[in-house]
């Protein structure tokens, strides 16, 4: 693909010149056009795809990787989606549908069938109503958003005075009638984004509008539910729920009535006089919900509200919340939920936003067109889950050509232990050397967030490759997985020669006459480039890896590293990492 062409296309899209962009794509062979589209960021792909004329979309779609195709198709209204599939060449359509996984295929078929039946009534009326029907299906698109964020950025000042950007310029709007789920790796800035949107924190740049007015100047009616509940232990359940109403100057009787109603709606009648510490986690979060609902917020923000609860309790509470929402028992017009749990996002949300990290930008923003209530066993459910996995696991592959990674001064070491890497490789060997990431996570009972660092470590060391959400073991990985412990250590050591931070440390140690250095030195080195929290993780990881690989020993009393010289390596058993 010729880069100038990609740039030209992107320029046209960013200027909103759709016709010339289509022209450009039409001039290419469909396969080349698809490749060109794949060089763009996913949100741009979506933007473009929503506009593509149906015949053009139909010619290109088969050449896109099937998951992209699947999700891009779903970014259009059902009728248009059906039209595109209809317009595909017979052979291509068969090929495309064949490539889809079983579940995706069934669900697509269902949707197409539904679209087919749904188009009947408008066809009886006038031909133009097809267009109107589409508008009606997505009423939010025309309505003014409740919250609109324009180019918001956030940076924090570090201890040493340097700035670190947590959120890159982001545009975002919250429409009425939707539940939006925000996903992203740990520490990517989800909570920060939530704080900015809710008016709790001011963005460093850009602005947040609430019904068109800057949030600073009006008092938005929002409520927040926190992961840690944030209840006041010295107030009774009732007083906790009443507290926001008291702040509004509501009289005693009215306050009491509304608080009781809110408690009732979350199933906590008769617990008014209890103190939070007498309640179980699930009940505490119910109080948290009651407090939020008592103010009848227009937008309800939730920061990982179910993460601190056990699976069953979370499931229950989620169900209750959805019941209130779907039956419109609460006047809330939009819910914004930050979550770690992909299934939860697909279960609840009408729209999912995935954040990347360092700094956070939107990696994907798409609608989930499944009817509520949703069933996680349903065929249509899985493709979304898998797709989000893929967006989250593919570190910027489509976003920039591979050479771009070299530009980064020091790639971060994934926070994983050598034991974890070995475990993953052994599992892969067991599964014949290749496996779907989602299944790996499932087998290991891990969340993506926990699995990702291990996978990253394995790829960084050249023991595995990840592609399109599949992990594949490499020949060196195979050797490693089959080797005994000393050999593993040697292989690990060799693999680490490609890790810049480790090399930096080794070089520094080699150049000292006594071959020792204080860890503090490397900490300082990293301090200039990374936030404090990351520095600790990096140091911890590099110590773990280096000690496992017998590169150096670490003396915690003096906080110093000592290089293990070639002759020593054999008898340095005591240097093995403490787990």
């Amino acid at each position: 693909m010729t880069p100038p062409m990609a740039e030209r296309l992107q320029e046209l899209i960013s200027q909103g010149k759709w016709e010339p962009a289509f022209e450009l794509l039409r001039e290419l062979k469909p396969a080349a056009a698809a490749d060109l589209i794949m060089t763009m960021r996913f949100e741009e792909q979506q933007l473009l795809f929503r506009q593509l004329p149906i015949p053009l979309a139909a010619s290109i779609i088969n050449h896109l990787p099937y998951f992209h195709a699947y999700v891009l198709l779903h970014s259009r209204p059902v009728q248009e989606m059906a039209a595109i599939v209809e317009a595909m060449k017979q052979a291509e359509r068969d090929h495309f549908l064949d490539a889809l996984p079983e579940e995706a295929w069934t669900s697509l078929m269902d949707e197409l069938a539904e679209a087919g039946s749904a188009t009947e009534p408008p066809a009886v009326q006038t031909p133009e109503t097809g267009r109107e029907k589409e508008v009606a299906a997505r009423p939010a698109a025309d309505e003014k958003p409740i919250i609109e964020a324009r180019g918001i950025e956030k940076s924090f000042t570090q201890k040493d005075g340097s700035e670190i950007q947590v959120i890159a310029p982001v545009d975002l709007s919250l429409e009425s009638g939707t539940i939006i789920a925000l996903l992203g790796p740990s520490g990517s800035g989800k909570s920060t984004l939530l704080r900015i949107l809710s008016g709790l924190a001011a963005p460093t740049a850009g602005k947040v509008l609430w019904h068109g007015e800057p949030v600073g100047e009006c008092s938005p009616n929002v409520a927040i539910v926190f992961q840690s509940f944030a209840l006041f232990p010295w107030l009774t359940v009732l007083e906790n729920v009443e507290s926001p109403l008291l702040a509004r100057g509501m009289e005693h009787e009215e306050r009491h009535r509304r608080a009781l109603k809110a408690l009732d709606s979350v199933g906590l009648k008769n617990f008014e006089t209890a103190y939070p510490k007498e309640l179980s986690g699930g009940m505490k979060q119910r109080v948290g919900f009651a407090r939020a609902l008592a103010v009848e917020p227009e937008v309800l923000f939730m920061d990982e509200p179910f993460s601190a609860l056990d699976v069953l309790t979370a499931e229950n509470l989620r169900g209750d919340l959805m019941e209130l929402w779907l039956a419109k028992k609460i006047p809330t017009r939009s819910i914004f939920i930050v979550t770690h749990n992909i299934e939860e996002a697909v279960l609840l949300a009408d729209r999912v936003i995935v954040l990347g990290r360092n700094p956070a930008r939107i990696r994907a923003d798409f609608r989930i067109a499944l009817p509520q209530p949703r069933d996680r066993k349903s065929a249509a459910f899985f493709p979304y889950v898998d797709y989000i996995y893929k967006v989250m696991t593919k570190p910027e592959l489509t976003l920039a050509p591979p050479s771009a990674t070299a530009k980064q001064p020091t790639p971060m070491l994934p926070h994983a232990r050598p034991g974890g890497v070995a475990g993953l490789l052994e599992l892969l060997m067991d599964r014949g050397g290749e496996e779907d990431l989602y299944h790996v996570a499932e087998t290991l009972l891990l969340e993506v967030d926990d699995l990702l660092p291990i996978l990253d470590a394995a790829t960084m060391l050249g023991f595995a490759t990840a592609h399109e959400g599949d992990v594949k073991i490499t020949p060196p990985g195979r050797t490693f997985a089959e080797a005994d412990i000393p050999t593993r250590k040697r292989l690990f050591r060799e693999a680490l020669t490609h890790v810049p931070l480790m090399q930096q440390i080794v070089t520094a140690l080699e150049n000292k006459s006594d071959h020792t250095m204080p860890v503090e030195f490397f900490r300082d080195l990293l301090d200039e480039r990374l936030p404090a929290h990351d520095v600790e993780q990096q140091i911890e990881t590099v110590l773990n890896w280096g000690r496992y690989a017998d590169i150096f020993t670490y003396d915690s009393a003096s906080d110093r590293l000592r290089l293990i010289l070639a002759g020593e390596a054999a008898n340095s058993q005591e240097a093995a990492p403490l787990h």
Partner: protein, 581 residues
């Protein structure tokens, strides 16, 4: 009453007998109210009496109740001042970033200035304020007690405010709590436990310095106020052992009584402010609190008087907040007033500073020599005391802390022992020492030890109790011997607590040195070389140059030691020696 309503009748009858004792139950509360009223009345009466420089302190036992009452009221009023100061100062320091930058170091410095160094300034200004009334001297004494009580409370409140969890604050912010609601529903409750413990420590400190605060020589004036402290001091001066024993018994009695009637109930009550997510198994218990909660009068008062007022205030501030958020305009006048205040304050500080320099320049070589030699001597004395205290408290504390049954017995005993102010015991100790041929040299160290060892002991016990069980089990698994156990587990485990204990003890020891190194006993003034005796002597002789010079040196030494030694050890404790249970 008809037959059909028998069950209701039984119920009604069942409640009647209960009602009689419930009135009886309330009697003590009513009596307490009257007693307090009478005490305040007689105190005011005495305060407004014409100034009477030389009150003769009578050593009659029958005079003791009155003296005790005066002392208790003095400490109580000083405590109320401290509380008010704490709330205002801590609040401003926590929320005004610009003020915080100088308020906290200032607090740090003030904390390291011994009580007696405040004496001349406080006394002279108070006497000048009310030249003809007893009130002047009396207020001076109260302010002195205040300077001994207030700083740790302020620190505790400030750091509590700073540590309020972010999400709690965000709840208050997102629901736009008014200032008042934040204060009463979040900040005060969150700070309550720290405040209660520090209040106890402060009041104990008040008793410790009571003798110094009620009777002193200021230049050529011999000021004494009727009170337990001056009674004990006079008895010591006269060598009247019987009076000393009587005074001491009354003092200990009062301390135990206050502990039972006030602190235990308050601690038990403040349990509800504990910031924990699950209920702890055993919590402090107080029969007085149970009694008060069962009484009828207090809940009645709460319902009739407190609750409506609270409701009113909450709504008033909430409405004001809502109104304020609508027209958000920075108050220009307020800004100017605060600027003017700041300017005036800076000018005052600058003036005082210049005056002080002028005074200090006048220090003679001999005086300087005395100050520095004294500083060295006190430094050694304090260090020696801390080592001595550590030597017995660390093993004892660990042994007690590791055995839950033993600590259940030993801890309350130690608490009673610790609550007796060492200064009150001092005359007796000195008497014994002088008989045995020793003098203030040993006496001063004994006094410092008595005054400070408890901080270390309690912290070590707490640290040893907090050592996680699984780590103890690991020691068993690895068959560690005694030495290894101490080195690998006990010492690292108690280290953070030990540092806390030593910090408090060291601060207390410096402060106590002014009493320990200079003591009037049987008409004779015993002194040993030290910064404390330099300060006490300078106060007595009215030599302000030396007083200020010595005070500055002491404050500087304490602050420097805090910065160079304790703060580093704290940092070390927070990183290296943190045991995660």
């Amino acid at each position: 009453m008809t037959r059909s309503k028998t069950s209701a009748g039984v119920l009604t009858w069942g409640t009647i007998p209960k009602r009689v004792p419930s009135i009886l139950q309330d009697l003590p509360i009513i009596f307490a109210g009257f007693a307090l009223f009478y005490a305040l009345l007689s105190m005011t009466h005495y305060w407004l009496a014409p100034a009477n420089a030389e009150t003769a302190i009578q050593l009659r036992v029958s005079a003791l109740p009155k003296y005790a009452m005066f002392s208790v009221l003095r400490i109580a009023i000083a405590y109320l001042f401290s509380l008010a100061f704490t709330l205002v100062y801590g609040y401003i320091a926590a929320y005004n970033a610009r003020a915080e930058k100088f308020m906290i170091p200032l607090l740090d410095t003030l904390q390291s200035i011994p009580v007696l160094s405040f004496l001349p300034g406080v006394m002279l200004s108070m006497v000048a304020l009310f030249p003809t009334r007893q009130l002047g001297v009396e207020l001076g004494s109260i302010l002195l007690i205040f300077t001994g009580q207030v700083w740790n409370m302020t620190f505790s409140f400030y750091s509590s405010l700073k540590n309020i969890p972010r999400e709690m604050r965000e709840v208050a912010q997102v629901y736009r709590w008014s200032w008042w609601q934040r204060f009463t529903q979040m900040e005060l409750p969150y700070a309550a436990i720290g405040l209660v413990w520090n209040s106890m420590m402060s009041v104990a400190g008040g008793w410790f310095f009571l003798m110094a605060c009620e009777m002193f020589i200021l230049g050529n004036r011999d000021l004494r106020l009727p009170g337990l402290g001056s009674y004990l001091q006079t008895a010591a001066n006269a060598g009247d052992t019987r009076a000393i024993v009587w005074g001491l018994s009354v003092m200990i009695g009062i301390i135990v009584l206050i502990d039972q009637l006030i602190w235990r109930p308050v601690i038990a009550w403040s349990e509800k402010f504990k910031f924990e997510q699950v209920e702890s198994v055993e919590s402090p218990h107080s029969f007085v609190l149970d009694f008060l909660q069962r009484s009828k009068i207090l809940p009645f008062l709460a319902r009739v008087a407190v609750r409506p007022v609270r409701e009113c205030l909450s709504l008033y501030f909430a409405n004001r907040q809502a109104a304020a958020s609508q027209n958000r305009k920075p108050g220009a006048i307020g800004k100017w007033i605060s600027r003017a205040l700041l300017g005036a304050m800076l000018a005052g500080v600058a003036y005082a500073f210049v005056k002080m320099i002028i005074l200090l320049v006048g220090l003679t070589r001999a005086e300087l020599h005395g100050i520095f030699v004294g500083a060295g001597a006190t430094l050694l004395r304090v260090a020696f005391t801390l080592v001595l205290a550590g030597l017995w408290t660390i093993p004892a504390g660990v042994i007690v802390g590791l055995r839950p049954k033993l600590s259940a017995i030993a801890q309350p005993l130690a608490q009673i022992a610790a609550s007796v102010p060492a200064t009150a015991l001092f005359p007796i100790i000195l008497l014994v020492l002088i008989r045995a041929g020793g003098g203030l040299g040993i006496g001063s160290i004994v006094l410092l030890l008595l005054g400070t060892q408890w901080y270390i002991l309690f912290n070590v016990i707490a640290g040893a109790m907090a050592i996680p069980t699984d780590l103890k089990e690991v020691c068993n698994v690895f068959r560690f011997n005694k030495l290894e156990r101490w080195r690998e587990l006990y010492l690292p485990g108690i280290f953070p607590y030990l540092v806390t204990g030593f910090v408090t003890a060291s601060g207390g020891a410096w402060n106590a040195s002014i009493i320990a190194e200079y003591f009037r006993f049987k008409g004779h003034t015993y002194t040993v070389t030290g910064l404390g005796s330099v300060i006490s002597d300078a106060t007595d002789t009215g030599n302000y140059r030396v007083l200020i010079g010595a005070t500055i040196l002491m404050a500087m030494m304490v602050v420097t030691i805090n910065r160079l030694l304790w703060r580093r050890l704290y940092a070390l404790a927070a990183t290296r020696f943190k045991l995660e249970g």
